[in-house]
């Protein structure tokens, strides 16, 4: 069937092409990053992903490795999820199931405002305020009593992996809680009514019926939060302590660390064009890209295969 020059066809073609904008941008990004990091992969091969050193000063014998920062990204995001998801769930549950109608709008409004704060301001606040709260209220006591446990070892100073995880947790709360809220709201009332009619308490209804019904949606919300945490740069840079090299491997929550994003933000503009360091930073960016893709692919698989099957008749 030949394509005729009608208004409908033109419009549809235009829209079809433009819908690929995101794909196009991703492609350009992937190519640019891969191209830029080629020198590094040619030199170190797979060792770049397992190496921990970062030595760029003697031109000709540089050594670079992304492992500490990969671990840093994973651990700070992990902490963000561990802390942020339960809080977001609590907020969503509160707003949908428990709050009096008049409070709903103001509270959800305030939580959404959290998303409006630019990340550089989060970073400033983290550096001047949150850091001391975390240090005095959590790190010092924990270190005093539990400091013998490896993940709490080291004298805490507030600028470390833990504080970065906390600030990330705060930053993902608006996203995760609003999506979770929608998911919970979408649970049909018949489910709730059925549960109440057999004598369940409110909490039991939520825990055993509502949350399991919305399981895959909540999982989606968590993945969104994870994606946001992995990619966040400015706020993390200002509170993570900025270690580099083998010392950056996160062996303790209270030691300074570094994520892939913060490493790039700190060093990219400083890297000398004559050394292999600039391609190394681009290679770190490429690794970050791969991580993002991996998370999304795994999430996709989990939602379509695992969760849908367990949902069973309810879906």
């Amino acid at each position: 069937m030949r394509w005729k020059l009608t208004g409908d066809n033109v419009f549809k073609t235009l829209a079809t092409i433009l819908a690929a904008s995101a794909a196009f941008i991703l492609l350009v990004t992937a190519i640019t990053l891969f191209n830029g990091s080629l020198p590094v992969f040619q030199r170190f091969g797979f060792g770049f992903f397992t190496g921990t050193q970062w030595q760029g000063n003697v031109i000709g014998s540089e050594v670079f490795g992304v492992l500490p920062y990969l671990l840093g990204t994973l651990i700070t995001s992990g902490i963000a999820l561990l802390i942020g998801v339960p809080i977001s769930l609590g907020i969503a549950i509160f707003l949908v199931e428990m709050a009096p109608k008049t409070l709903r709008v103001p509270i959800s409004f305030l939580v959404e405002l959290l998303a409006a704060v630019p990340s550089v301001i989060y970073g400033l606040w983290g550096l001047f305020v949150l850091r001391f709260w975390v240090l005095d209220l959590i790190e010092k006591p924990v270190s005093a009593y539990l400091g013998w446990i490896p993940i709490f070892s080291g004298t805490p100073f507030g600028l470390d992996v833990f504080t970065a995880g906390i600030i990330l947790a705060i930053m993902i709360i608006p996203t995760v809680s609003s999506v979770t809220r929608e998911v919970i709201q979408a649970v049909p009332n018949s489910i709730r009514e059925g549960a109440y009619s057999i004598g369940a308490t409110k909490w039991e209804v939520i825990r055993h019926w509502v949350l399991s019904y919305g399981r895959s949606g909540i999982f989606g919300a968590v993945i969104l939060g994870l994606g946001r945490a992995v990619g966040e740069t400015m706020a993390v840079t200002m509170v993570i302590g900025n270690a580099i090299g083998p010392n950056a491997v996160p062996t303790s929550l209270f030691k300074p660390g570094q994520t892939m994003a913060s490493l790039i933000a700190n060093g990219y503009l400083e890297a000398s064009p004559a050394s292999l360091e600039l391609p190394a930073f681009i290679a770190v960016g490429f690794t970050l890209l791969l991580l993002g893709l991996l998370i999304n692919v795994v999430a996709h698989i989990m939602v379509t295969r695992v969760l849908k099957i367990k949902g069973g008749a309810v879906e």
């Binding site: 003697v58 100073f157 840079t237 900025n242 700190n266 503009l269 000398s272």
Partner: protein, 370 residues
Amino acid sequence: MENTYKIVIAIVLIAIIVGGVAGYILLSPPAGTEQVSLSGSGATFPVPLLDKMITEYSTVKSNVLVSYEGIGSGGGISALQAKTVDFAGSDAPLKEAEREIAPNALHIPKTIGAVTVAYNIPNIATGLHLTGQIIADIFQGKITNWNDAAIQDINQDIMLPDHEIVVAHRSDGSGTTFIFTGYLSKVSSDWANTAGLGQGKTVEWPVGLGGNGNSGVAGIIQGTEYSIGYVELAYALENDMSVAAIKNPAGNYVLPSLETTTEAVAGKASQGLPAGDASWSTVDVLNAPGEQAYPIVSFTYLLVYKELNVIPGMTQAKATALVQFLWWVVHDGQQLSPALEYAPLPDNVVQINEASIQSITFDGQQLPTS
């Protein structure tokens, strides 16, 4: 409600247009003169002084708009090599490999700074003495407590506390780090020979917290008791920080100040400096000779191409403006230095700079310096 949307959007658009128009009007040069803009980027260390110089220069030549963004020495060199700026600033001279990718770049020492070793020990505001070896050992994690015998030995009149030392260093790649680690490499063979350490804009710090920028490090020191770190002199003085007196080659413990910095440079300059278009990669003002010379001192450079034709978009007017700006910076501009705690350039350095600036050409022609 319909109208509210329209009003909001209208206001935003009007704001943008008004902002743009207002900006143009405010910027318009007096009638008859041609406006020239020069852009530079690079080291953050000289930013306070450069900012002041640029503001002052706009009163001298109101049609020349100079802008300089402190993004870091490496960024400046990158921009220079990519020719996306007219001049660059760097605390570190170009390495040989960098000279190859940015050929015929002139080094123009613009001012001099000192790197201080600042600390925060409760009840000990002044009087701490340190040697280079001790500093290197602290930053390498070999000396971990303030009352270590090595430190206490040279500080007989101070009661040092029994407490872990918190080290603060730069997290961003920096010329200040380059200068400091250069000093550590000179005074400690251990530091110089350990892989991952040595001299560089970024090193694999074995211990410590990383702060962003001089101000980040200053912030860590001030916010954390029992800490020690390195910051440029201007920052230390601005923030009223306690700084250590460091032993210099003459055997004296010297505090960083304008005088001790200037003495170091004078001592070094008397030993001879290269011409502007030669390699400066071996130049440093560390452990300079002089009774009261402070040991951790450095030039900070403006880098500019000898033949300005290589920069796309360069015009005769811009080239002339650039040369005149540089000439002013190394002459009249130097008067602004002391007030901001930067040491003015000594005469013999100014002479080298004059030769360099006069060698700058555009279209093969020399350019007038005033």
